[in-house]
């Protein structure tokens, strides 16, 4: 039990340093525990009221031997999930379970294409399609990467588009792989972690 308490104390000390202590954070997406993001969501059904989707960076998952993922709590209309992601200076990776990860976003040139197979068997193809300025309720974000995604071995329309602001976060996504598509998410507000 003493070892466990020691572990906890060290973790908390690390959490209190992470983020705010890295003045020159060079990560592509510098997420930090305590951040929250609120998205306004609308779909193509006029009778459906708009709703809100929330993402909170709630913690840190450590997968031995050396990988650390931020835990993102995501809650929208009728669904809720936890996602583990980590960012390097060049890309953002999502934990898929059983020690496997895949690249969801890359800081690369327009035209860059990559793909991966999820543990579910779905083959996801991603392409950086453009660099664009994006205006959402939270403001205008310049030089966002527009990423076009689809499932290559699924039936039906599976496309979705994401706009990622380097040095910040995803600010918009439009999902055609959904009921009442397209479903559009626009960043409405965000909060930074409380000062230590």
């Amino acid at each position: 039990m003493k070892a466990r308490m020691l572990a906890l104390s060290v973790l908390l000390a690390v959490f209190s340093l992470t983020g705010s202590s890295f003045a020159a954070d060079t990560r592509f997406i510098p997420i930090t525990i305590g951040q929250t993001f609120e998205f306004a969501v609308s779909d193509n059904n006029p009778s459906t009221p708009d709703w809100t989707e929330n993402i909170a960076v709630s913690g840190l998952a450590q997968i031995p031997p050396s990988l650390l993922y931020y835990t993102l709590d995501q809650k929208g209309q009728g669904e809720s999930r936890l996602i583990g992601i980590r960012s390097t200076a060049a890309d953002v990776r999502q934990y898929d379970g059983f020690g496997k990860e895949y690249i969801i976003w890359k800081k690369a040139a327009v035209g860059t294409v990559w793909s991966y197979i999820e543990n579910s068997g779905q083959k996801i193809q991603r392409k950086i399609e453009a660099i664009e300025n994006v205006t959402v309720p939270a403001g205008t974000f310049t030089n966002c990467l527009k990423i076009h995604n689809k499932c290559a071995n699924c039936s039906g329309v599976t496309d979705w588009y994401e706009w990622v602001k380097p040095g910040f976060m995803m600010v918009k996504w439009v999902d055609y792989w959904a009921d009442n598509a397209p479903v559009t998410h626009r960043l409405k507000s965000w909060t930074a972690p409380a000062a230590p």
Binding site: A7, G97, N119
Partner: protein
């Protein structure tokens, strides 16, 4: 970057101190999760059979006080990850946004509790029997707790039954919620230690 690597190394060192049953000769937790353990289950619905796997792959820390084991699970539909922690009496699941739910707990037969999942499903759990003896391919387990569960605001037959061996793990579950009149039965067939 150096500072981040230092933190990572420190975390690994601390985790290596805090994990594994060998570090806890008298681990009193209801389910003594430890990083590196894998449990493989044989699943059958009467027509098809397959294997499912649960692995404690790491740990998740939620400030300011809670630590969960990262448990990856494979099913027919793909994979999912849960964050679980155990006390001597209760297993909690991290539900997001600082909330947790009671996944399993000890108690007298008849003990019932409910929780609402993030998607709105209301799950009711009940301890229906104690001291159950369960035989699965991996062996015979005595003193198991039998839980009867259901979704109270979902359509159809949502019942599933779980058998937990205190001090070890879930050894069997039987699920009607996956569809059809015949339940899908999962039985433990192997355990891999780190």
């Amino acid at each position: 970057m150096k500072a981040r690597i230092l933190f990572s190394s420190l975390l690994l060192f601390v985790f290596s101190l805090s994990l594994g049953p060998s570090a806890f000769a008298a681990d009193t937790r209801l389910i003594p999760f430890a990083v590196g353990y894998s449990f493989v289950f044989h699943a059958s619905n009467g027509t098809n059979s397959w294997e499912e796997k649960m692995t404690s792959s790491g740990m998740t820390s939620i400030p300011s006080a809670l630590q969960y084991y990262t448990v990856d699970a494979s099913t027919q539909l793909g994979t999912g990850t849960r964050s679980l922690r155990s006390t001597p009496t209760t297993v909690y699941q991290y539900a997001g946004f600082g909330k947790e739910t009671v996944f399993w707990k000890t108690g007298a037969a008849g003990t019932t509790w409910k929780y609402t999942e993030g998607d709105g499903k209301i799950i009711e759990k009940k301890i229906v029997a104690l001291n159950q003896t369960v035989t699965v391919p991996y062996g015979t387990f005595t003193g198991c707790i039998k839980y009867q569960n259901r979704c109270t605001n979902c359509f159809g037959n949502t019942q599933w039954t779980e058998w937990i061996k205190p001090g070890f793990m879930m050894v069997k579950w039987q699920d009607y919620w996956s569809g059809g009149d015949t339940p899908t039965v999962h039985e433990l067939i192997s355990v891999t230690t780190p």
